[in-house]
């Protein structure tokens, strides 16, 4: 099984600021981490490979600064790593991002399984995995917690839905997104550090990807950001009161309504 894991490097959510004057996102001061559910995706891929054979390639789209994070993935256990990097890919929304990742997967060739995290902590759209599936004309299963081989080269994926768990049989090639927390990501292996640091991380640019420019980057993005606003205040409100039980009940009820849970 040739498995590709799509990995995204995201800024730490609590360190991203909005410049309220320019309404622009200020990521400059924010440190980065590997998106949480992508670590689950990597673990799912490695566990599958360990149990059933194959190779795991991590693939990411981003600036050269993403490279160290791909090396962390190699230290965790991935076999190789590829970074899709070019100014032309920048400013991409999910359509353009998924197009670019799909182009990278096609260039890798003979990929059986693509595993992604369910959503990223920055954009949080969860659109990229099914979009990649469509670009590749592959089958898909989202919100998966378990992946096992089926008969005749198929894969059985158990999806976690609102009203229950559905196990589906997917023909290969397939794109799967995994639920955050669906497994416990193995910690990195320091014995692999030397390999991880010296391994060649392939970097593919626009020319090497030979994609259709109309679907790349900003120009390939049908959606646009019209505005930004800061929502959460830093930390909790800490409104602590000593009141009668009835007054307490009234305050709590107001709070409940404020969280917009009108329906039970």
């Amino acid at each position: 099984m040739r498995i590709v894991v799509c990995l995204k490097v995201v800024p730490r959510p609590e360190e991203v600021k909005v410049d309220l004057e320019t309404k622009m996102l200020d990521r400059a001061g924010a440190r980065s981490v590997i998106n949480a559910s992508d670590l689950n995706a990597l673990e799912a891929a490695l566990a599958y490979r360990d149990a059933h054979g194959g190779t795991v390639t991590v693939l990411s789209m981003g600036p050269p600064q993403f490279e160290p994070y791909l090396r962390v993935a190699l230290a965790v256990g991935a076999d190789d790593a590829i970074l899709l990097s070019d100014r032309a890919f920048g400013g991409a929304d999910t359509l353009a991002t998924s197009y670019t990742l799909a182009a990278g997967i096609r260039k890798i060739g003979h990929v059986d399984l693509v595993i992604c995290g369910e959503e990223s902590s920055d954009g949080g759209t969860s659109q990229v995995p099914p979009s990649i599936a469509e670009w590749l004309e592959a089958s898909q299963a989202t919100y998966v917690e378990r992946l096992v081989p089926g008969k005749h080269g198929t894969v059985h994926a158990t999806r976690v839905l609102e009203d229950g768990k559905e196990t589906v049989e997917l023909s290969v090639p397939a794109v799967v997104s995994v639920v955050v927390g669906s497994n416990e990501p193995r910690f990195l292996d320091y014995d692999r550090w030397a390999f991880a640091q010296s391994a060649k991380v392939l970097v593919w640019n626009e020319k090497e990807l030979s994609g259709d420019p109309q679907y790349l980057g900003l120009q390939g993005s049908p959606t646009a950001v019209a505005g930004l606003r800061e929502v959460k205040k830093a930390g909790r409100r800490h409104e602590t009161l000593t009141v009668t039980p009835d007054e307490a009940a009234a305050r709590i009820k107001t709070e409940i309504e404020r969280t917009r849970l009108a329906r039970s």
Binding site: V16, P129, S139, A157, V168, A226, H238, P245, E255
Partner: protein, 328 residues
């Protein structure tokens, strides 16, 4: 695709996994769409997909101008690829300006695929929707762990696609059935289907606190009286959670234990009752939207982690709260 709006507003009415009825969010969106359609002076179509055409009648109660049923045996259950194929074919015929879907898991599964098929822009799980100009929707989307909201538009491509979170819009009132129903049998073959169901295990057989929107947590201060905690959880449509003290004492099952060595939760609302708030517990509710805490001890560390904190005896506060909630 040129910006036309001949086809008006479309809403995808998603059926539940067991095919029994429509997801509440589909109806919520239908309600909002009715209002938008009026503002834009365009027609509203509810689109539904399934094996047969029985469901139309239900949708007519919510006032769409048209109901479009896509019926085919291969569409009996949700499959992103097959559903996207069927819907895309109709979109190409009718040219709607807008397509709204519920941000359920299957809804997202479909929307991501369909947007690429239609080469159009998709704005995912908005928490509010505004209208700008002639027919431009602006969807506000939380990002960066909820700290920032971005207003997203799809200026040129059509249909502009938006998925909407459950609970953003109210459930509309039912009215007398209106609108015509058209049933279409899409051209589909096996190769259009990407997945086949092997099994389905309905929810209710296992507890999943990680996905609960509302949690009521009981700790040492309950003195073991979890009946009241359960009642409160029921009244709020939420789940019961507990601290290590409560599970050790056997008051609740271990799988309800929240904390560093238990479950990490991200509810919209959590009521933390009779819990001191040791850090091993509070890391399990760090991601909660709103935290309300009740504790007898004004020094209890839990108040450092709460939005609203009540210092007082748990019993009387819970009784008063149950009364207040029962008044609706």
């Amino acid at each position: 695709m040129a910006a036309t709006d001949e086809g008006g507003l479309w809403v995808y009415a998603e059926r539940r996994s067991d095919g029994s009825s429509f997801t509440p969010v589909s109806l919520e969106i239908l309600g909002k769409a009715r209002e938008l359609a009026r503002q834009l002076s365009v027609e509203l179509t509810a689109v539904t997909v399934g094996a047969d055409g029985h469901a139309a009648a239900d949708l007519r109660k919510y006032g769409p101008d048209h109901v479009l049923e896509l019926a085919h045996p291969l569409l009996a259950r949700h499959d992103g690829k097959a559903y996207a194929t069927a819907i895309a074919a109709e979109v190409h015929k009718a040219h709607p300006s807008t397509l709204l879907l519920g941000a359920t898991r299957n809804g997202q599964d479909l929307a991501g695929r369909l947007a690429v098929r239609l080469r159009t822009g998709l704005t995912a799980h908005v928490t509010s929707l505004e209208l700008e100009g002639k027919d431009q929707l602006v969807g506000w989307v939380p990002g960066f762990g909820g700290g920032i909201e971005a207003g997203i538009t799809c200026p040129v491509k059509r249909p502009q696609m938006v998925t909407v979170r459950p609970g953003v819009f109210p459930l509309p009132a039912e009215g007398p059935p209106v609108g015509d129903v058209t049933t279409v049998t899409p051209h589909l073959s096996e190769k259009d289907v990407g997945s086949h169901r092997v099994s389905f295990e309905p929810k209710g057989t296992s507890i999943d606190l990680t996905r609960a929107d509302v949690i009521v947590v009981g700790g040492r201060g309950t003195g073991g009286n979890f009946a009241r905690i359960e009642e409160l959880a029921r009244a709020l449509g939420g789940e019961v959670g507990a601290t290590r003290v409560a599970t050790d004492a056997g008051w609740v099952d271990r799988d309800r234990m929240i904390g560093q060595t238990g479950v990490i939760t991200r509810p919209k609302l959590v009521l933390v009752l009779g819990v001191s708030g040791a850090v091993q517990f509070t890391v399990g509710i760090e991601g909660a939207g709103t935290v309300v805490a009740v504790n007898r001890d004004p020094q209890a560390p839990i108040f450092d982690h709460a939005d609203l904190g009540i210092v007082g005896d748990l019993g009387p506060v819970v009784e008063s709260l149950l009364r207040a909630l029962g008044e609706d």
